[in-house]
């Protein structure tokens, strides 16, 4: 379930102005030069060295670039960096890696192979679970919650198991 972010088209003339953007990434204030056309994904990866989110399709289809923006999962490849000022950006690197965290569940349930889609799935799972605290999602709920992501190794069964396992451990049962 992805939120739409309104984007605007810029001209090459505007692009040369290169404003500086202050972004809050994983609780840290980060600053860099961005062009008005720079996507959040490219800004995170190429300018801020936050490489957890991956660039694959670069057109809002695969979900490997998923980040959590003000609590909502978004495709960072189709979100302009400049539109993220004064918003909270969370990437996979900030998630709890302990036994109750989503990354642990993915590891335990063998929910990955090559791993390139994994940061996106982990992030989408985390966002889904954050939005449904204390609930016991069904397999169908989880499938719907993660329907914005694809995996080409075919790890879906493990991914759904991991999301369900993470829901259980977050609920404390």
């Amino acid at each position: 379930m992805y939120s739409m972010i309104t984007t605007s088209v810029t001209t090459p003339e505007l692009a040369t102005r290169n404003p500086r953007a202050q972004l809050e990434v994983n609780g840290q204030e980060m600053s860099c030069t961005v062009e008005p056309r720079s996507t959040l994904l490219d800004t995170l990866r190429n300018r801020l060295d936050v490489t957890g989110p991956k660039r694959v399709c670069d057109r809002g289809s695969c979900g490997a670039c998923t980040v959590i923006l003000d609590g909502d999962p978004v495709y960072s490849c189709t979100t302009l960096a400049i539109s993220c000022r004064e918003k909270t950006i969370e990437t996979v690197e900030s998630f709890d890696t302990g036994e109750n965290g989503v990354p642990h569940a993915f590891h335990q349930k063998d929910a990955l192979m090559c791993g390139y889609c994994t940061p996106g799935f982990v992030t989408a799972s985390k966002s889904f679970l954050d939005k449904h605290p204390g609930q016991s999602p069904t397999l169908e709920d989880v499938k719907r919650g993660l329907d914005g992501n694809i995996c080409r190794c075919g790890t879906y069964i493990g991914v759904f198991e991991a999301a369900l396992a993470a829901a259980r451990s977050m609920k404390g049962t």
């Binding site: 040369t16 490219d42 190429n46 490489t51 991956k54 590891h107 791993g115």
Partner: protein
């Protein structure tokens, strides 16, 4: 003679993936995640046409754009035949990917666009345009077991049909690319997304004039 052991150490036990946590936590560094200081971004200018001749190419305007470090023209204007959409024409290296894309877009190419075919049937027609020198087909490969013709003649009922399969491509999510870093003049380290580290090393040796002993190719994530 080898016998099955009374108890096995690993078979039947559940072992989690060694790199599982690195990947699931976003900490794994793939070749596309490696950004050495001063890294330039490469962008290819590719053919928008499936069958064309490059008559002229002008990189002067592209070269002047800010942040552009190098442009490599990969075809010889005049006799450069493009035989598929997406065929490489030029490569640009610039300080940012955006600047490299701007420069690739600013390269002026004069094409003579020729008719093209899309399907196998069109390609095999007698009057089909022939982007490939010679012909559009390759010699067929067939494996024959038994006597199919005789069997067909003897059969009570025969059904003939044409069976076709599309091209099958895995389309893995990780892009096939690499990040290469010059370590001084004579050595190079390449972080490559590849199943052939030796092949990449050979490419470096053949194309960049570096000794094989000074080339390191790293593919840590599989």
């Amino acid at each position: 003679m080898a016998t099955w052991p009374e108890s096995t150490r690993l078979i039947g036990t559940r072992i989690t993936r060694l790199d599982g946590m690195a990947k699931a936590s976003g900490r794994a560094k793939y070749p596309s995640d490696i950004h050495p200081e001063g890294m330039l971004f490469g962008v290819m200018l590719t053919s928008p046409y499936a069958n064309a001749v490059v008559k002229a190419i002008d990189i002067a305007a592209a070269k002047k754009l800010p942040g552009v470090k190098a442009i490599l023209v990969l075809v010889t204007p005049g006799d450069a035949k493009l035989i598929y959409e997406g065929q490489e024409i030029a490569a640009v290296a610039a300080e940012t990917e955006e600047k490299a894309r701007d420069a690739a877009r600013a390269i002026k190419v004069d094409y003579e666009v020729l008719p093209h075919v899309v399907t196998e049937r069109q390609s095999m027609a007698t009057d089909a345009p022939k982007p490939f020198p010679g012909a559009n087909t390759r010699p067929a490969r067939a494996v024959t077991l038994g006597k199919p013709e005789e069997a067909m003649q003897k059969a009570d009922v025969t059904i003939e049909a044409t069976y076709e399969l599309p091209v099958i491509t895995h389309v893995c999510l990780e892009p096939h690319g690499l990040t290469a870093e010059r370590k001084g003049k004579d050595s190079i380290v390449a972080y490559a997304s590849t199943q052939s580290v030796l092949g990449v090393a050979k490419d470096m040796v053949d194309n960049l004039g570096v000794d094989a002993s000074n080339v390191t190719v790293l593919t840590e994530m599989r």
